[in-house]
Symmetry: D2
Subunit: 367 residues, 4 copies
């Protein structure tokens, strides 16, 4: 399955014994999450390329150095990248870099940092969140404004950061103008802007824009850039775009248990993703598969949010949902409302989509 050239291993103590440990069906794919997918082959190749020999740990390696160039090419000359391990970790490091001990963070009430991070922001970093009502997952200036107050009041945890996600938890996408408006409001009120970009590639692919148009050029100060859902084995990054806030991020990464010892392998994966156009190919494909699915089922189910990236949220009758679950893995988003979330990935095939759409149709259409 995998043949590794002998380089460097002639001297190994024992002969290399290949173990065949394929325990799973390598052809089975569903619509549960983009993190159900595996590693893109080019990324796996990059890992193997970076293997053998010794390299400095904790970032003292040539791959991490190269990674700096790669991120500067995407995000501008002042960008500094700090590879980390999980999306939650990226957010918690980034928010600490932007927030004093007495600060708070305005975010969407449907946002990942409030809803799906096990309370890590509060529990590991004492970050107070001020969740506000979002519209289709997106923050608006009026919603932010309602919490942007009490800056001089010691009884109030000072709002110091606005954190938005691009794409949002609901798969929707902010335009650059929308981000700029929010960033302008935030900066006018002395707040910084954090962008949770665990699916930034998908948003950029949707808009047909370079990554910096949605970040550096739109006023974002610090970015959590997501690699895992875009085809990596594991890898996220904190990207400091505003050099004025680049203080302590390297320390906070360690303190937050997000510093990998063999970091060359995180860096190499990101290089594979971002040095060329793999990030965009993967995102474009995943988005296209969601669009294909949307088109195929829109007359059969109620699609709840605009399909802009790689998710389709649909409302189905209870029985139809139950039957679909029997055949395909996916998540119910809001059980009470009969709302399901279907996600596509870089490895979703048109055939996967068509098969799934056919099942949706079969289970929702009346005889």
């Amino acid at each position: 399955m995998l043949s590794i050239s002998g380089i460097g291993f002639a001297a190994l103590p024992q002969p290399v014994r290949m173990t065949d440990m394929i325990l799973h069906d390598r052809e089975a794919r569903g619509f549960a999450s983009d993190n159900y997918s595996g590693i893109h082959p080019e990324v796996l190749t990059a890992i193997a390329d970076a293997n053998h020999g010794h390299q400095g740990s904790y970032g003292g390696d040539v791959y991490t150095r190269r990674l700096g160039e790669v991120f500067r090419a995407h995000f501008g000359d002042t960008a500094r990248v700090f590879p980390v391990l999980t999306g939650t970790g990226a957010n918690v490091v980034a928010l600490q870099a932007l927030c004093s001990r007495w600060g708070s963070v305005i975010c969407a009430d449907s946002g990942h940092i409030h809803v799906d991070e096990g309370g890590a922001p509060e529990k590991t970093a004492g970050l107070k969140l001020l969740p506000v009502a979002a519209q289709q997952g997106k923050l608006t200036v009026p919603a932010i404004r309602a919490e942007a107050r009490g800056f001089d009041d010691p009884h109030r945890a000072q709002p110091q950061v606005v954190s938005l996600a691009q794409a949002t938890e609901l798969g929707t996408v902010y335009t650059p103008a929308e981000i700029r408006e929010i960033a302008g409001f935030a900066h006018d009120h002395g707040m910084y802007v954090h962008l949770d970009g665990s699916r930034l590639a998908n948003a950029a692919a949707h808009l047909g824009l370079p990554l910096r148009a949605l970040t550096t050029d739109a006023g974002v100060d610090v970015l959590s850039y997501g690699g895992t859902k875009n085809g990596l084995l594991l890898g996220e990054a904190v990207v400091v775009l505003n050099p004025a806030v680049d203080r302590g991020t390297d320390r906070l990464r360690k303190t937050s248990m997000q510093l990998a010892s063999k970091q060359r392998f995180i860096a190499a994966q990101f290089i594979a993703l971002l040095a060329g156009d793999l990030w965009r190919r993967n995102a474009t494909h995943a988005n296209a598969m969601a669009t294909r699915l949307h088109r195929a089922v829109r007359h059969d189910v109620e699609v709840v949010y605009p399909v802009e990236t790689n998710a389709v949220f649909a409302r189905l009758p209870e029985q139809a949902l139950a039957r679909l679950h029997d055949e395909f893995p996916f998540y119910d988003w809001d059980t009470a409302a009969g709302e399901a979330r279907w996600m596509t990935s870089f490895d979703t095939t048109p055939e996967d989509v068509d098969r799934f759409a056919a099942a949706v149709r079969a289970h929702t259409r009346r005889p």
Copy 2:
């Protein structure tokens, strides 16, 4: 360099473009750290084997399930394994599982959790450490006893855990009897025992004992098991050995930002390491290389601690150190004392050792 079988990727949107991104010298190796090494080929194979197709994320995959069996085989039927991402992360999760909000942890003043984790135990989990003087890196009952007091005093953070490292930061090894004695004392005083096993494999290889002899059978309650230094790309594990304390570990892992989404790849690596004897082969080889180095240089330099695992601590004249640094990467341990640390790894070759030892000799011997 790496040929990947076409399975499952015929359908990918674009043809897979191989990138050759080897930026480093794949033959260069030094004595800086066992985490300067790369991925053992069998482990990389396991990653490739686990690739393709969809698998449940966050542990809902067949590799994680199998991993449970593998760890139970090593540590006993009650063992429960929780893969995590960094050694610091493993320790912080494990200690939280054992420690109430008002507890404290007795540890060696030379211990990794006190010295080298950026304050993560205190900063992310509020864990108070009570560092005590260690002997050659090892805790002793008298040293522990001095802090094992004030259990009923609300002004004192209650000592609830004794945390020891096996092997220690100085490469020394506790005998099973020593661990049992410490565990007995701890349990008699109502404290739990945590073992930081980032190099447990090396200790077990040194003693020629199975892993459980040093852990489950010696009274350890929760273990941090280290994979990265033993040949993984990245992977550590919290192993709950005492089922009575298995409460909340899965929650604490998420809260501590240590839950990987594509966990199948962490699990698959650990299976490659532990399903067979790779863990022991790697550790035995690394230890043997340190012993070889020790034997080769012991008449030229003062070796400071017993060489029991894969580290040699040596005292050298300043000039000799400077010259050696010109040729090989390694760390000074105590600059003032002229003390260097030389570490070997699973991929260190006898030739590497001999070349290094010759250089040591050349730079320390008088003309």
Copy 3:
């Protein structure tokens, strides 16, 4: 002004020199807050009575012992009282006692713990809050239900506590039945109930009920009992009503910097308040003054919430507000909406109210 009997001080090194340091107008009173008031004379007497001689610190004194009896008389035989220093401190200690490291707390979005505690719950104790929309400051089961989910999901900070305030930030009062309903729902879902009773006395006075009817008998597990706004110099208490959760509260109090060394003086104040009916006299009077104010102004301004305790929230034209501010201290509650908060206290006089109401009338009535 104050003559202190010579007992015990004949032996003092220097003659006691009385200093007259009255810097303020002892007759000026406004409607800003019940914590603008001073110490009730009976409470000050109790402080003086508890003075002289030595008493065990940190609660090892006879006043603290007696206090236990006093609280049991009010809250039942299983109640345990832990005097603390601030309302925020009481809430943070109480919530920690009820919440594991991975838990979260459902509260009103207008609640003091979310709005006015500087983020102390998150920052000092890692407590994640799940604020939900409240109605006139009060939580409802449907609002709680929307967040009472994901108990088995490690990505979600487990909801473990419902925290409600009685009276609420808006001066409204839960009936015992309403508390019981919420507590029933919480307990049915494995959650505990915390009650922030910084103005519990006012609520009980409004309802004409004993304190236990609103707490112990209504299913509350842990109570923050407020003394300061009820006439103390300084003093709050965590009261554990459900003995099953009485683990660690004494430790958490110290850890949370809420343990007074000369605790006898906190205890003595509370005894003065609660051994007799001073708590009710003070609360009843403050409530009556708010009612008097409400009646006097209700035709001149829009009163926004039901006046049930010692606060009147009123909407006024901007100019009227400005003029009133020139004459009396009070707070704007919602500047945008022209909403002011007027609070009465144990020492507010009918004349104070009448003077203020006349000013309200004068500034709001058209010529």
Copy 4:
């Protein structure tokens, strides 16, 4: 016992009922702790003077304003005072003001912040402590130097503060020159200096120096100033001496649950203590009583540390200790070593000392 003039209370709803709640022996005094004592009469008078009428809460009162002048008179024009509630609270607020999220604090291993604060620095503020061996309770530059390293190492929590106590836990006193030397070393290494002055008055009285000679003039950046042990009911203060670090202290005070609502009563007490010479009278007297005790018993017991302030540490035979405990309250300091701590207070009388010394003599002298 206490007659309160009717001012302002004619209008109270019910007649004031005086309760006689003296539960303790107002003449009994021991040698357990200076916080076993009560309130100095001048301080109690100040509380009564500050009573009646309304004053702004949370520091918006005239007493707090005046307090600023009083502290500037003692500590220099740049000093800013923040009244807080407990000694632990003062230390935790002060250290947070000086320490970034990734910092650590070098302190004495016998220091109160490490030993007796229930882990509050770690648990509520994530402060990592680096305890070093102290000599008679005092830090030395060599001991500090051993931990003053790794400033650029992300694996190490950066040492950012040196925290020393004056007087120390063992009653010993730093000379101004000693503090200056430590502060010089700290500042040379980019660290700040915190002084835990819960008994600063006793140290200043011992040296016959003004407070600023030991603080502002000796290079201290932030001070925890102790009032409670010096004769207050309750009151400590964070005093920022170096204006460059005066950022966030007011916020951190609230966040750390150390902001009193009726702060006028904390301020008034401190004014009573510090506007005149009460602080020095009380401290001088307490010190003199310890000296008297020391002189009386030094031929009967082994006095372990220099008696410089208001504590005598003595070693006694087990039986003598047991008999003394039957008659007088005091604490064993080190049970194993037979070491007792005897503390004097502002209200200790010469007769108290003589009676106690006679008992010591009786129980230790052979027949």
